[in-house]
């Protein structure tokens, strides 16, 4: 199954390998600003792909995935603050693992009831979940959401922080892409796609829909949490407002939609374009970048409803049709 999937997608794998090779060497010749843009791109692409495992493959659009960014970040932060291990790197690794685990556990608990909702109801319920988490983090003193948490500094003295976290992001995003690819070519992936296309028929064909949806949800939530934890460390200091951000939740959807929903390359392309636009092109603007971002969103949905990938396919098809 995996072997077959690798064979079928070999050119994509080659492209991804080349891409990561380029990414690994990039800090050598990029300016620190470009490295930070790279960080943000990797973070965004990772989030888009993690969201895709549930939203793109299974068709369950979550509007509240920032719940896991916040949950992971605050669990990791609280742990690292109270239980420092010998070395800062060990502490960070342990905190990251624990935070990701917390996301896995919480998502597994809420998965069954919440995945019984479909369509817009699931989307709204997830929005509600993220708001509950955010409100509790901010208003229960023990969680320190208001006063904020200083994440312990794990950057080796010999390295610039942006370069260090760039590489951590490369690793986290590579893991996310790898998991997503594995899901896509496995039985799980086909099952999820059949759920997206027609859940009742999928069940009729023997797809264990409940179990598969839960798997997709837990994988998606855990990877989102992992990326969120890395992000929190990169910031160094987090409050509720830095990690529970509704715009994170919505941006994941924007990346996927912009690139092409249901594909892995889609969110990667989508986030590359959005990060470039919002940080590089619109970065210097004082007061209209929000207007332009909104206008872009509208334009994307209207002009490229199937995303860049769909657009490219259409062009290819038209080209092929013209040639025949």
């Amino acid at each position: 199954m995996l072997a077959e999937g690798i064979r079928a997608h070999r050119w994509w794998i080659v492209a991804a390998a080349v891409g990561f090779a380029v990414l690994l060497t990039a800090p050598a010749y990029l300016t620190p600003f470009q490295v930070r843009v790279g960080q943000l791109f990797l973070f965004s692409a990772g989030l888009g792909v993690a969201w895709t495992i549930l939203g793109g493959f299974a068709g369950y659009w979550s509007f509240g995935h920032t719940a896991f960014i916040g949950l992971g970040a605050f669990v990791a932060g609280a742990f690292e603050l109270h239980v420092p291990l010998g070395s800062p790197v060990a502490t960070m690794v342990a905190g990251t693992a624990l935070g990701s685990l917390a996301c896995a556990a919480v998502s597994a608990v809420i998965a069954y009831p919440i995945l019984r909702l479909r369509g817009i109801y699931f989307a709204i319920a997830m929005l509600g979940v993220s708001q509950v988490f955010a409100e509790l983090t901010n208003n229960v003193d023990a969680f320190k959401g208001t006063m904020g948490i200083n994440m312990p500094n794990a950057v080796p003295a010999s390295m610039e922080p942006q370069t260090f976290f760039y590489y951590v992001f490369v690793a986290a995003t590579a893991l996310t892409l790898g998991v997503a690819f594995w899901v896509k070519v496995s039985r799980l992936g086909y099952g999820l796609v059949s759920i997206r296309e027609d859940e009742d028929t999928a069940r009729m064909l023997g797809v264990p829909t409940e179990r598969y949806k839960i798997w997709a949800f837990v994988l998606s939530a855990t990877l989102t949490g992992l990326l969120g934890i890395v992000y929190a460390h990169a910031l160094g200091y987090i409050t509720t407002g830095s990690v529970y951000r509704t715009d994170f939740s919505l941006n994941m959807i924007v990346y996927a939609l912009l690139g092409g929903i249901g594909t892995i390359v889609g969110p990667v392309l989508g986030s590359a374009l959005m990060v470039w636009l919002t940080q590089v092109v619109l970065g210097r603007l004082l007061d209209v970048h929000m207007f332009i971002t909104g206008a872009l969103l509208v334009a994307i949905v209207l002009l490229a409803p199937h995303g860049l990938v769909g657009f490219a396919r259409k062009l290819l098809r038209r080209g092929a049709g013209g040639g025949a």
Binding site: Y121, G128, L257, F291, L297, V298, V301
Partner: protein
């Protein structure tokens, strides 16, 4: 005892506002299954228009309501026909939600540019009059806000029930295909529904403006409140919005009184999630075409 009584009264008064602010959202959701994330901004535009009338021309905000409603009806109709329908046709219902989000960002930015990011406040002459009903106190502004909200909700219910337009809207909500087969211009109906929704959102904004100070970032709050009201009360009907709004108001003040003043929002969202899981079609159970 009088504290509880006061809390309940405060909750009901607040709930009246929530109801009116949510009814338009509910209508659009019920009739065309579109989740309108622009709703909160439209509420705020209503508040800003009332502010402009009051500040510029000295028109009482409550008297300005018809003007605000007319302006926003036109806006809503054009918005639906020009943009939302396009998005639904070309993409999907879920994607249309992103369009409404994009427009919300744009409008919020426009509000900041036109009215500055500062908060605004409308204080008519009766703003600080207080009544005492036995042990409880209530102020005239909130009372008139509640009254205006109830009147407007009744008007909307009457329009939906007894007028030709209302009947067509309800018919379309239940079966748009059938309505289409009966020769109804469904797009026109959608446009009108959106217009009506925006008009009532604007009216609620005008009323909210005299009760609380407001600034552009508040839009998210009013959108989210509408979400919760609709989930509590059920979709598409003024009575559902009224029930949901009153409940939300009560939950809000009671949580604040009994659990802690910092928790009403957390409780509100918790109830949103739990309600969705237990009764996705709301307490009244008046499900609509999209509930699955």
């Amino acid at each position: 005892m009088s504290l509880i009584l006061q809390t309940i009264l405060d909750g009901l008064v607040l709930g009246g506002l929530y109801s009116l602010a949510a009814v338009g959202f509910s209508l659009i959701f019920g009739v065309m299954n579109v989740v309108n994330l622009t709703h909160g901004v439209i509420v705020l535009i209503g508040a800003y228009l009332a502010y402009a009338f009051w500040h510029g021309l000295g028109v009482d905000p409550l008297l300005a309501i018809p003007l605000v409603m007319a302006a926003l009806f036109a806006f809503g109709y054009v918005y639906q026909r020009g943009l939302i329908q396009l998005a639904v046709d070309r993409s999907s219902l879920l994607a249309s939600m992103l369009v409404t989000f994009g427009v919300a960002l744009m409008l919020r930015n426009v509000l900041v540019l036109v009215f500055s990011p500062d908060f605004k406040s409308v204080t008519p002459s009766y703003a600080f009059t207080v009544f005492f009903l036995g042990p409880v106190t209530i102020d005239l502004v909130r009372l008139s806000a509640l009254g205006a909200s109830l009147v407007l909700l009744c008007v909307l219910a009457g329009v939906l029930r007894w007028t030709a337009v209302g009947r067509v809207i309800r018919a379309t909500a239940q079966q748009d295909l059938a309505a289409r087969l009966c020769g109804v211009d469904v797009r026109h109906v959608y446009g009108i529904t959106f217009g009506v929704s925006a008009a009532f959102a604007g009216a609620s904004g005008a009323i909210i403006g005299i009760v609380v100070p407001f600034s552009p970032p508040d839009e998210a709050l009013w959108t989210i409140n509408a979400f919760v009201v609709v989930t509590l009360g059920g979709v598409g009907s003024p009575s559902g919005a009224l029930l949901g709004g009153l409940l939300l108001g009560l939950i809000s003040t009671l949580t604040s009184q009994l659990i802690g003043p910092q928790f009403p929002n957390a409780m509100m969202f918790l109830i949103l999630v739990v309600m969705l899981l237990l009764r996705p079609s709301g307490l009244l159970g008046n499900a609509f075409s999209g509930s699955r």
